[in-house]
């Protein structure tokens, strides 16, 4: 069930009413919320509801065992076993096909015979997201940052439908206390929720869809038929498309959660205004980057150790972060570009510090240059992220230089405007949105409904009929 559909609107109207009617009855509310979330998930494939339930059971069992053990070594083993079991689900569903295919081709190259059967394992929607949340829960209990939750609380936490299929990756410490406490039915943050949902719908239904069909898809599907200018705009267009698509989804998820009385962490903070790749990862998919930091980078040693060790830690984290997005060499290449870029940036800062030099002053020219260069590296990496294969990615990059002066029918003023808008809007101060939200809730209820109805009409009229699945659903 996709968010921008009538099916979901009807589902949410029911879920919203049930949520608040049962709010005074916590146990009943939790059972209802798990039921609704499982129903939501079963819309894709009912069989994977059992996967979600199984991961919940494994996480709970692991957390309880880890919590009860005193011996540090045994606790560590119990935690590692639980995490391995949870990762096992992810590895099987997401990486088996990729692994078996590459082993098969390697053996074929060496003249060997097939070792593993080539199976197509269906990827359950959102498995990467709820598996990471389950892992963080077990590790937080191991670190004694979180006590084990009640089983029903954990079931709500992992399955809560606003975040279930594409995040944000909400930590147990953030959501479990909200699940345990009743929401205040007089405190619905409608202004912010309505803004987030409307903005998310606009980004997804209008901006992302338009740029995808107008330039990105034609360029990436057949780069040899496109001019260099079209390819260049196609690459920038994809940067805007994936931002609008994913942040649009997240905006809707955060808005829906707010309507139900829950607060999710922000997931994006104007990522294309970043001044370095490190800065980019503080602004892009923030809940994933802090997950990678806390559960991978820091346990690897983080910034402790020699420069080589730190570089290794950064590279491992980014390569695995790339692989998290999908089982393909293109995602590994994407992670490698981000990893190498961060290693270079880290090394430059370290060298400067070692020489006892002060940081350079932040003049407007320097800031603009940093932002420009960061965006170019990010866009270069997006080419690998979007391409079907490494050879396609290189074909696109090659076409950037080999077809100038050719007609560019895909480059229209509207395409250029849409891309410029997608990047430029990130420079609008956030308090502008807050002022609009503040004004909106001062209107009478009927006027609010009318305003939102007209906004919704504008979005559905400007967008194409039908909605493509969100890009991050397949991760």
């Amino acid at each position: 069930m996709l968010f921008p559909t009538i099916d979901f609107a009807i589902f949410f109207a029911v879920a919203y009413t049930v949520n608040w009617l049962l709010n005074p009855y916590p146990t009943t509310w939790k059972l209802a919320m798990v039921g609704l979330s499982y129903l939501f998930y079963s819309w894709w494939d009912w069989r994977f509801v059992f996967l979600l339930a199984a991961e919940t059971a494994v996480a709970q069992l692991g957390a309880v065992v880890v919590h009860r053990l005193d011996d540090p070594r045994r606790r560590r083993w119990a935690m590692a076993l639980s995490v391995a079991a949870l990762l096992g689900f992810l590895v099987w569903f997401k990486y088996y096909g990729f692994f078996a295919l590459n082993v098969d081709n390697a053996l074929h190259g060496l003249g060997g015979s097939r070792l593993l059967p080539l199976l197509r394992v269906t990827l359950p929607v959102g498995v990467s997201f709820f598996t990471f949340m389950a892992i963080s829960y077990v590790v937080d209990v191991y670190r004694r940052e979180l006590p084990p939750a009640r089983p029903i609380d954990l079931a709500v936490y992992l399955s809560f439908f606003p975040h279930l299929v594409a995040g944000p990756i909400v930590r147990g410490q953030e959501l479990l206390p909200q699940i345990r406490h009743r929401r205040d039915p007089r405190q619905v943050d409608f202004g912010r929720a309505a803004w987030m949902i409307a903005a998310g719908l606009f980004k997804k239904v209008v901006l992302s869809s338009y740029i995808a069909t107008a330039i990105v898809d034609p360029v990436f599907a057949a780069p040899h038929q496109r001019s260099s200018l079209e390819v260049l705009l196609g690459v920038y267009g994809y940067a805007v498309q994936i931002y609008a698509d994913f942040s649009g989804y997240t905006d809707i998820a955060i808005g829906l959660a707010l309507l139900l009385g829950f607060r999710f962490p922000d997931n994006f903070d104007a990522p294309y205004t970043a001044r370095s790749l490190q800065d980019f990862w503080r602004r892009w998919h923030m809940t994933l980057s802090r997950w990678l930091r806390d559960y991978l980078y820091v346990p690897l040693g983080g910034n402790r150790g020699s420069r080589l060790v730190v570089a290794r830690n950064i590279l491992i984290t980014m390569l695995l972060g790339g692989l998290w997005h999908g089982a393909a060499w293109t995602f590994i290449a994407w992670g490698a570009i981000h990893g190498l870029g961060q290693v270079i940036g880290h090394e430059r800062r370290q060298r400067r510090m070692a020489r006892g030099l002060e940081p350079l002053p932040d003049g407007p020219g320097r800031v603009a240059l940093q932002r420009f260069l960061t965006l170019q590296v990010v866009c270069l990496a997006w080419v690998f992220f979007r391409a079907d294969s490494l050879s396609s990615a290189f074909a696109i990059l090659g076409r950037l230089f080999s077809a100038w002066g050719v007609a560019s029918p895909l480059v229209t003023p509207l395409v250029v405007l849409a891309i410029a808008f997608g990047i430029g809007v990130q420079y609008v101060p956030s308090d502008v949105a807050e002022r609009v939200q503040g004004q909106f809730v001062r209107f009478p209820v009927a006027a609010q409904g009318a305003i939102l109805g007209v906004v919704l009409l504008a979005i559905t009229t400007l967008g194409p009929q039908g909605v493509a699945p969100f890009i991050y659903y397949r991760f």
């Binding site: 608040w20 990827l123 006590p147 039915p185 405190q187 038929q225 707010l258 009385g261 409904g449 009929q465």
Partner: protein, 376 residues
């Protein structure tokens, strides 16, 4: 090891005082996580929000009911469609009576929409243009002073060997599988240097629902625009559904359906052959779902029968995208012998590697059946 139970633990973080079942308690937001920060925004009660939401949804339904009704009418036949139409029809009538439909229709006209409900989404490109195939260019015309071409065994004009100076014009049309195939095939053809190729494919379309997408009209337009010498047709996966013929419902799976569908395919390809174009009808491949595979087998029989007329060739994609026994395969070896994924996870669509494999086979068929000798 401690004797702490899960219940003890959860109780220790202050659950007991908030898990009471008494309605109307004044629990505030979760500790440290206020719902409304100090932004000046007014918090609202949940019934007020529900009222605003319903008002929003109701107004949108009313204002957009004509578009929604068109979408509902174009959706697959069944209960869902009937219920949606029954609900939307009175709303659309109200919208028209109030004169509101003109607003949305005006925007649609401004955006150049035809109202066919065709969706072009990001799973591959839906329209690709080969070298020189700019839709804005003047219509191509035939040279009336050129000598009449020789005819083949079926009495259809033979195609000259394409050259750089006189390239072959190829058009690829289809549904979402046509989207998958279109650009790799166009790419492979245009890199030969002697072919000018164009793809026009639209997802969710076929020949069963002309009320949703009128493929004969689209093809007529393409023929006038591109004057192709060869038309490759790859569609049908959406077609196993009930049809309306002369106002009467024809149930899928019946002999009447098969006859009517075959007639539609014949009429469709005739649009092209009437203009002198050769047509290659590409059959459907096997699918992961056995039920859908059986439907594709039946559909291929109709496609193959319809391809018996002069100038039309049927090409079976089945052996290209299956194992030696004809069964569905996700992985097949590429030219170097390495296994590659040829089918998408949905078990229906074709990956770029699979499309490349099929494109090479179709170019081979052009060579074999039409004697074109396109360099690959």
């Amino acid at each position: 090891m401690t004797d702490t139970t899960t219940e003890d633990t959860t109780g220790s973080v202050g659950d007991t005082d908030v898990h009471g079942e008494e309605p109307g308690s004044e629990d505030l937001v979760a500790e440290g996580i206020p719902l409304v920060e100090g932004t000046g925004r007014r918090a609202m009660r949940w019934p007020q929000v529900l009222a605003a939401g319903l008002a929003c949804f109701g107004l949108w339904l009313l204002l957009d009911s004509s578009t929604l009704l068109r979408s509902a009418q174009a959706s697959p036949f069944g209960t869902r469609r009937s219920v949606a139409i029954a609900l939307l029809r009175p709303l659309a009538a109200t919208e028209h009576a109030l004169g509101l439909a003109g607003v949305v229709n005006g925007v649609d006209r401004a955006l150049g929409r035809t109202g066919t409900g065709v969706v072009q989404v990001s799973r591959g490109v839906s329209t690709g243009h080969g070298h020189g195939a700019d839709p804005s260019r003047p219509l191509r015309t035939t040279d009336s002073t050129a000598p009449a071409p020789a005819t083949g065994p079926d009495g259809f004009p033979q195609l000259p060997t394409p050259t750089t100076a006189s390239p072959l014009h190829v058009l690829v049309v289809g549904d979402s599988l046509g989207v998958d195939l279109g650009n790799p095939l166009v790419d492979d053809l245009v890199v030969s240097g002697v072919v000018d190729a164009t793809a026009d494919a639209h997802i969710d379309t076929g020949l069963a629902r002309p009320d949703y997408f009128d493929w004969p009209a689209e093809l007529r337009n393409d023929l006038a625009l591109y004057a192709p010498q060869v038309v490759v047709v790859f569609m049908g996966a959406n077609d196993p559904q009930n049809m309306v013929v002369d106002g009467n419902a024809v149930a899928y799976g019946t002999a009447a359906w098969s006859e009517d569908y075959e007639a539609r395919v014949v009429a469709f390809v005739k649009e092209a052959t009437d203009t002198g174009s050769h047509v290659i009808v590409v059959g459907m491949p096997p699918m992961a779902d056995p039920g859908l595979t059986a439907k594709m087998q039946a559909l291929n029989q109709d496609l193959a029968l319809a391809a018996g007329s002069p100038g039309v060739t049927y090409f079976a994609s089945w052996p290209v995208l299956s194992d030696p026994s004809g069964a569905f395969q996700t992985y097949l070896p590429d030219a170097s012998g390495n296994e590659v994924e040829v089918r998408e996870p949905d078990g229906i669509h074709i990956t770029p590697a699979g499309a490349d494999r099929l494109a090479h086979a179709i170019i081979g068929e052009m060579d074999r059946a039409l004697g074109l000798h396109v360099p690959s």
